[in-house]
């Protein structure tokens, strides 16, 4: 056995080496083990801390209660990968998809989207044992996708880039593209002859809101029938985008939406709720009578009264001691920021917060209302009536009287007769108990139809209009409340004026701090030299 300098034998050195390797291997094992253990724990308990002021990444109470209310198992399948539409966008001259373009432009964005969907499903699965899910990367696990497709009786291609929710025989599909807000070049259908455009990261995501709608629709059991009064050239006539969007939204939330011609429908009691969406033409006397009878037998009404159109709800709302004024609210404090006029209302401060419909939304989300009539709650009303204010203008609001020309269908505001309308109500919830009816009637009266405009309903991450409408429907149809302001994937932007920030940033960040470091370096250098 040869002796080395230092008196150590080869065996000794081998022993030391083995010891080092063994301890290092043990260290690797412990490190991987601890990370794996914590990762496993994170599937059972939420180990993430949301540090944002607005709790942007926290699950809302509404989502939690919605999931806990699930009575039957829901299985969710989400498969993502390059579908036929995407492959057609990246064809080379020989007609074959270019792998480099797919990897560079589509894969990262789709991975990000898939990760977000996965995270929402993962968080949800921690809340309820009723929800199970599988996320399949079609490119790396084609066999798994094929098996899942066979189980569901679908072609694998049909499952790509959508979330499929199954509860018994009921199914819902949420396309991935619907969860990406704003312009998504490259995810829209290819335009013939147009130059290729690749996808850009969306400015906001709507995973939680869209999936939440789908789960609510699945878990809501039977679908209440909602009638939308048509035939008055109103805001929502069948065939219009507004009607289709409202119908699609209600259906996704578990309601069946149907156009309703009052004079041709024999029994209004089949409708769980009737929406009267600001008709342009006045309701006929018989129609008003039908709606009043419906209300008196415990019916549920959502009445919108747009200031641009004349209305005749008086006979229906009279017993509640509510008057709709022929005026439009001008509220410069709560106006839509891009408009000069205070008639277009939009704010986070409308909700009064005394009712389950608006309390969860108070000071949390913005509502767009557009032009709105003021409501007045008079002291006198029928017995067994309850009235709760839902939305309110600011104390500085004015009411501008309007006149309508029913023959031309126009209206004009009388600016000269503008007057203060302190604390004008914009919406109210009305409840009435009838002696002869087995159930109470419920009515929500809203001074404008803008709240249910399609553009606002389509923006769940920016506006609370969806939440407001959903809460109205939930209260009217007596369903369990699930929406208490859904998760906002898009938090309030915290902006700074570049003009104001640029100068101090240049002086402090670019010049001051580096100069300070160089000055310290110089002083240290000279101090060392002198010693």
């Amino acid at each position: 056995m040869g002796m080395k300098p230092g008196g150590m034998t080869k065996a000794w050195r081998t022993g030391v080496f083995a010891n080092v390797v063994l301890i290092c291997a043990l260290g690797v094992f412990v490190a991987i083990g601890s990370v794996t253990l914590v990762r496993k724990l994170s599937w059972r308990h939420d180990l993430r801390f949301d540090m944002t002021a607005e709790r942007t990444y926290s699950m809302s109470d509404g989502d939690r209660s919605m999931l806990r209310a699930l009575e039957a198992p829901v299985s969710v399948v989400f498969a993502w990968g390059f579908d036929r539409d995407i492959l057609q966008r990246v064809l080379d001259a020989q007609g074959a998809p270019r792998a480099d373009l797919l990897a560079q432009h589509y894969r990262p964005l789709m991975e990000d989207a898939a990760r977000r969907v996965h995270r929402v499903l993962e968080e949800w699965s921690h809340v309820t044992p009723q929800l199970t899910y599988s996320v399949i990367d079609a490119d790396s696990a084609p066999r798994e996708l094929e098996l899942e497709a066979r189980r569901l009786g679908r072609h694998p291609e049909e499952l790509l880039n959508k979330v499929l929710l199954v509860q018994g025989t009921r199914r819902r599909e949420v396309p991935l593209s619907r969860m990406m807000r704003d312009v998504q070049w490259g995810f829209f259908p290819a335009m013939p002859g147009a130059s290729p455009r690749f996808p850009q990261p969306p400015s906001s995501w709507g995973m939680s809101a869209e999936l939440g709608s789908a789960v609510r629709a699945l878990g809501s059991g039977s679908m209440p029938l909602v009638g939308v009064v048509v035939g008055h050239d109103g805001l929502m006539e069948p065939g219009s985008r507004a009607f289709a969007d409202l119908g699609g939204f209600l259906q996704s939330e578990g309601y069946e939406c149907r156009g309703l011609e009052l004079m041709r429908t024999e029994d209004l009691r089949q409708f769980a709720c009737i929406i009267v969406p600001a008709p342009k033409k006045l309701l006929a006397a018989r129609e008003t009578e039908l709606l009043r009878d419906y209300e008196q037998t415990g019916g549920r009404l959502l009445l919108c009264a747009d200031p641009r159109f004349a209305e005749d709800y008086a006979r229906i709302i009279e017993p509640f001691g509510v008057t709709l004024t022929a005026a439009v609210i001008d509220d410069r404090r709560l106006r839509e920021p891009s408009r000069e006029s205070g008639v277009d209302l939009q704010s986070m401060s409308f909700c009064v917060g005394q009712h389950p419909v608006d309390a969860p939304l108070k000071d949390r989300v913005a509502l767009y209302l557009g032009p709105t009539r003021p409501l007045v709650l008079r002291a006198e009303h029928a017995p067994a009536v309850e009235r709760v204010a839902l939305l309110r203008a600011s104390a500085d609001a004015d009411a501008i009287p309007v006149t309508h020309d029913s023959s031309r269908g126009t209206y004009s505001a009388m600016e000269g007769k503008r007057e203060k309308a302190p604390q004008a109500l914009l919406a109210a919830a009305l409840r009435r108990t009838h002696a002869g009816s087995p159930r109470e009637s419920r009515t929500i009266l809203l001074g404008g139809g803008g709240a249910f405009a399609p553009d606002e309903l389509a923006l769940p991450t920016h506006f609370g209009n969806r939440d407001f409408l959903l809460n109205c429907m939930t209260w009217l149809c007596e369903r369990p409340f699930s929406t208490q302001a859904t998760l906002r994937e898009e938090s309030r932007p915290r902006l700074v004026s570049v003009g104001a920030f640029a100068e101090p940033m240049r002086w402090i960040g670019v010049i001051g701090l580096p100069l300070l470091a160089f000055a310290i370096a110089a002083s240290v250098f000279f101090a060392r030299r002198s010693t």
Binding site: S34, V38, M51, V496, F501, G509, I520, V524, R528
Partner: protein, 242 residues
Amino acid sequence: MSRVAILFRRELMAQLTAPGTWVLLGLSWLWLGALFRWQVMPSAGHGDLQFMLWQGTLHAVNMQILFVPLITMRCLAEEKRSGTIEMLVTAPLADHEIIIAKFGAAWFVDTLLWCVLPLYMLVARQAGGDPDWGPVLAACFALLGAGAVLTAIGVFASSIATNQLLAAFVGLLLTFGFLYAPRLVPPDWSFTQGILSSGDLLKQVEESARGIVDLVAVTFQVSMCALFLLFATRSLEARKWA
């Protein structure tokens, strides 16, 4: 004062009284400031502070790839070159105490690199902005964690190299590899990518800069830091007995 604290103080003073450290810090602050001012901030109108914080944090992490090896290269390699390593290892100090003290000093200097980021947010606040301090704090935690991992890697590189230049080069390769390996794997190597992506330090920092502190990420960073410090300790010990 414990032996580790004494050695830590000595190492820190050595780092802070070296003009090179301050020149390096000055250049880094200049680079980070210029990137923030002319790349992260929009040229006009209004800028989103959350986005600026996110981008600034990513720039700060990327700068550490270059900064950390230059700071840590002298930790042990310099001792070896100057011959003081024998004195150090024969002093009444355990190997892990030496490594922890040197790591602590280097980590402190590394923290000075990115501590200007919350300062930028303070400047933005003075300029009328309203930064969300939760994500700023989360970003600081993430930079602290990422800095600890990268510094530990740098100390390890310094422990295995015989001179400073080699230590810096090995440190650069290791830190770059550690940060970017999960992103450099071809997409069709899904198994490898799956393993590496769970330890994607950049992704963890990115999440934190948006305002989420994930205990899984914290555990990963603590584990990796401890692992590389263990490697460095064993490397020092092996040298002693080899």
